[in-house]
C-alpha cells in the first residue's frame, strides 16, 4: 500500500533552538496514528509543520511527502489549496476555535465554497448533512446558531464537521479531546473513528493521554525533546516499552494499573523535567534516565529497527526491557 504521508527528517528551528530535530514517520490511508509526548516534545509543532502553519520566523527542514508532493517549501498559494481540502486540522480548544460572530452554518458553508464549486443552497444542504454526520441533533435548526449557544462537545463536533467538510485524506487532531470531559471525549473519539472508516481518511491523533492511544490508535509514535524515540503498535509498545522514557510514561500513568490506587503509595514519576531544547549533546533523555550510561552523553542514539515495524532510539533495549519487566513484577 502506498503511504499517504511520509515525513522524513523533518525539523523545525527558531534561530539556534531546534524544538523538532529530524522526525520521520509515515501514515497509511485510513490509519489512526497517535503521536504522544509531554509538553514541549515538539508534537504540536510537527502538526503545524504538516499544515505549513509554522510561525513565520520558524525554519522547517527535511521532507514531508503527502500524496506525491513535498509540502516543505511549497508556495503559500499551493499550500492554501491543500489545507482544508486534503489535510484538515482540529484544535484543542473548542471554545475558542470557532468565530464567535458567525453562525456555525456560515462557517461550514464558507469552507465548502472555498474549496468546491457549490451554490449557497447546495453548500447549505451539505452543511446540514455534515452536522448530521457528526451527530448533532436537529441539524436543520442548529445550523443557524452561534457558537456561544453550543456546549463544548457540540462545538468540537462542529469543528470536526468543518474539518471533514471537503473529505480530507488526512485529519490532524491536535489534543482535540483534551479540553472535553471524559464521556464527551469518548463520544468525540468514537465519532472520529467512525468518520475515519466512513471517509477513509488517515487520522493523526496528537495527545498525551496514553489511555486514548491504547484504545484507539493503530500505531503510536512517542516523541521526546523533538525526536521520535519509539514507534510501534500500541499493544506492543505498552506491553513491552523499550525506551526508558516510554517505560517511565507508562508507569506514571495511573490508568494502566487497574489494581493500583493512589492511596497505596505515590504514583511513580520521571524525575526532572524536559530539558531545554537548545545545545545539549548526546541523548536528550540522559539527565532523567534511570539506566543512563557514560556513552549516552556523547552519542545521539539512532533509531533501531525491530520486527513488526517497531523502532526504538535506545541502544540498550534488551537490558531495559528486562529491567522494566522485573520492575513491573516486583
Amino acid at each position: 500500500m502506498a503511504k499517504l504521508l511520509e515525513v522524513s527528517d523533518f525539523s523545525v528551528g527558531f534561530g539556534a533552538a531546534q524544538p523538532v530535530k529530524g522526525v520521520s514517520f509515515s501514515a497509511n490511508p485510513g490509519e489512526m496514528l497517535a503521536i504522544v509526548g509531554e509538553s514541549g516534545s515538539g508534537k504540536s509543532l510537527t502538526a503545524l509543520g504538516l499544515m505549513g502553519l509554522l510561525p513565520r520566523h520558524a525554519k522547517a527542514g527535511g521532507q514531508i511527502r503527502f500524496d506525491g508532493r513535498d509540502l516543505v517549501g511549497l508556495r503559500e498559494r499551493d499550500l492554501r489549496r491543500i489545507r482544508g481540502r486534503d489535510i484538515a486540522m482540529i484544535f484543542q480548544e473548542p471554545m475558542t476555535s470557532l468565530n464567535p460572530v458567525l453562525t456555525i452554518g456560515d462557517q461550514i458553508i464558507e469552507v465548502l465554497r472555498i474549496h468546491e464549486d457549490l451554490s449557497r443552497r447546495q453548500a447549505r444542504e451539505r452543511a446540514i448533512a455534515l452536522l448530521d454526520l457528526v451527530s448533532i441533533p436537529e441539524a436543520r435548526r442548529r445550523i443557524d446558531e452561534y457558537p456561544h449557544q453550543l456546549s463544548g462537545g457540540m462545538r468540537q463536533r462542529v469543528m470536526i464537521a468543518i474539518a471533514v467538510a471537503c473529505n480530507p485524506k488526512l485529519l490532524i487532531a491536535d489534543e482535540a479531546t483534551t479540553a472535553l470531559d471524559v464521556t464527551i471525549q469518548a463520544q468525540v473519539l468514537q465519532l472520529l473513528d467512525n468518520l475515519r472508516v466512513q471517509l477513509n481518511m488517515a487520522v493523526i491523533l496528537i495527545t498525551h493521554d496514553l489511555g486514548i492511544v491504547a484504545q484507539w490508535a493503530d500505531r503510536v509514535v512517542v516523541m521526546y525533546a523533538g525526536r521520535k524515540i519509539e514507534e510501534g503498535l500500541p499493544g506492543e509498545v505498552f506491553d513491552r516499552p523499550y525506551h526508558p522514557y516510554t517505560n517511565g510514561l507508562l508507569s506514571a500513568s495511573p490508568r494502566l494499573k487497574a489494581d493500583y490506587h493512589y492511596r497505596d503509595g505515590p504514583l511513580s514519576e520521571i524525575p526532572g523535567s524536559i530539558v531545554s531544547a537548545a545545545g545539549e549533546k548526546g541523548c536528550s533523555f540522559r539527565p532523567r534516565c534511570p539506566v543512563a550510561r557514560p556513552s549516552c552523553a556523547s552519542v545521539v542514539p539512532q533509531l533501531i529497527a525491530l520486527p513488526a515495524g517497531r523502532q526504538v532510539a535506545c541502544p540498550y533495549v534488551p537490558a531495559i526491557a528486562e529491567k522494566a519487566h522485573v520492575a513491573s513484577v516486583g
Binding site: R80, M89, Q149, D239, K257
Partner: protein, 334 residues
C-alpha cells in the same frame, strides 16, 4: 503481567463502543418524529431556546437603551439630523441672505424667533442650515478616516514584520505633527470648500483609527479561530474581512462616534477662523461673525455655540453608551 492489565483496558474499549453507539443511535429514530412534535406543542422549550439566536445582540441593545445618557444623546442627535434634513423645507432660500433689520434680539420679532445678526440674517435659519454642513462634514470625514485607518491598521496588524514597521512609522509621522496646525495648513493650501475641509479632517484623524485597528488585529490574529481559518485554507483577504474585522468592530464603533464629534469641532474651528467654505453657513462661521459684537449682542455667539455643545455632547454620550454596551470588559456574562 502488564499484558493482562492492558487487557482490562482493551476490554474497556469494547465496553465503550456499544455504549456510545446507543447514544449515537438515539437521535436518529427521534428525528422523523420531531416535526410532528413541534406542530403539536408549538411554544415548547426548544422554541424558547431557538429564540435566543439574537440574544447577544439583544443584550447589547438592552444595555444601550437602559442608559439614559445615551438615550438623551440619541434624541438630540436625531433632532439635529432632522433639522439638517428638513432645512430646505423649513427655511427655503439662502440662509446668508439679509431678511430683516440687523440685531433683532431673540423673541423681539416672532417671525425670527432667534433674532437676526449684524447683517440682518435669520439666526435660526443659519443654525438649521449649519447643522447640514456640520453633520455632513462630521460623518463624511469620519467615514473617510475610518476607511483609511482601518485599511492601514488592518494591513499593519495582520501582516506584522517589515510592513508593520513601515506603516507604524508612517502613522507616527502624522501623530508627531499637531493635528490642528496640519489641518489649517492643508485647508490653507487647498481651496476652502466642503470637500477639501472634509478630506483635511480625515487626513488628521485617521492615525487614531489606524493605531486602534492595528492593536485589535494584533490581538485577534493570534486567536484560535483565526489559526483554524488558516488551517482551512482561507486567504488573507477572507481572514481579514470575515474573521478578524467583525470581531474588531466594537471599539471602532465607539471611537467613530467620538470621531464625528471631534470632526464637527474641527470644522467649526476652521470656519471660526474664516478658513471654511465662505459660501455656506456654518456654526463656526456664525460664531466668528458674532465675535466682533460679543459685548452688545452676545446671543450671536452663544446660540450657535450651544448648537455645537449639544451636538458634540450628544455624540460623546452615544459613544459612552456604545462603549458600555459593546466593551466586553464592562459586561459580566462574556
Amino acid at each position: 503481567m502488564n499484558s493482562q492489565k492492558l487487557g482490562t483496558l482493551a476490554g474497556q474499549a469494547i465496553d465503550f463502543a456499544p455504549q456510545t453507539k446507543v447514544e449515537r443511535d438515539q437521535p436518529a429514530p427521534e428525528a422523523p418524529k420531531q416535526p410532528r412534535w413541534t406542530h403539536i406543542h408549538a411554544p415548547d422549550v426548544r422554541a424558547s431556546v431557538s429564540g435566543t439566536a439574537w440574544r447577544g445582540m439583544r443584550r447589547e441593545l438592552k444595555v444601550f437603551l437602559g442608559n439614559y445618557n445615551a438615550l438623551f444623546g440619541t434624541a438630540i442627535l436625531l433632532l439635529v439630523a432632522l433639522s439638517a434634513l428638513l432645512a430646505p423645507l423649513l427655511f427655503p432660500g439662502d440662509p446668508l441672505e439679509m431678511v430683516a433689520r440687523p440685531f433683532l434680539w431673540p423673541g423681539q420679532n416672532p417671525a425670527y424667533p432667534l433674532g437676526t445678526d449684524s447683517m440682518g440674517r435669520n439666526v435660526l435659519a443659519g443654525i438649521v442650515h449649519g447643522a447640514r454642513i456640520s453633520l455632513t462634514v462630521g460623518l463624511a470625514a469620519t467615514a473617510l478616516g475610518l476607511t483609511v485607518g482601518i485599511a492601514i491598521g488592518a494591513v499593519a496588524g495582520y501582516f506584522g514584520g517589515l510592513i508593520d514597521d513601515i506603516l507604524v512609522k508612517f502613522i507616527e509621522i502624522f501623530q508627531t505633527i499637531p493635528s490642528f496646525v496640519l489641518l489649517v495648513v492643508l485647508v490653507a493650501i487647498a481651496q476652502p470648500t466642503t470637500a477639501t475641509v472634509t478630506i483635511a479632517i480625515a487626513i488628521v484623524s485617521w492615525p487614531t483609527v489606524a493605531r486602534l485597528t492595528r492593536a485589535e488585529f494584533r490581538a485577534i490574529r493570534e486567536k484560535d479561530y483565526v489559526q483554524a481559518a488558516r488551517s482551512l485554507g482561507f486567504g488573507h483577504a477572507r481572514i481579514i474581512f470575515r474573521e478578524i474585522l467583525p470581531n474588531a468592530l466594537p471599539p471602532l464603533i465607539v471611537t467613530s462616534s467620538v470621531m464625528v464629534a471631534s470632526a464637527i469641532l474641527m470644522e467649526s474651528a476652521l470656519s471660526f477662523m474664516g478658513l471654511g467654505d465662505p459660501n455656506r453657513v456654518s456654526w463656526g462661521s456664525m460664531i466668528g461673525a458674532g465675535r466682533d459684537v460679543i459685548r452688545t449682542a452676545w446671543y450671536l455667539t452663544a446660540l450657535p455655540g450651544l448648537a455645537i455643545v449639544f451636538t458634540v455632547l450628544s455624540l460623546n454620550l452615544i459613544g459612552d453608551g456604545l462603549n458600555d454596551a459593546l466593551n466586553p470588559r464592562f459586561s459580566e456574562d462574556r
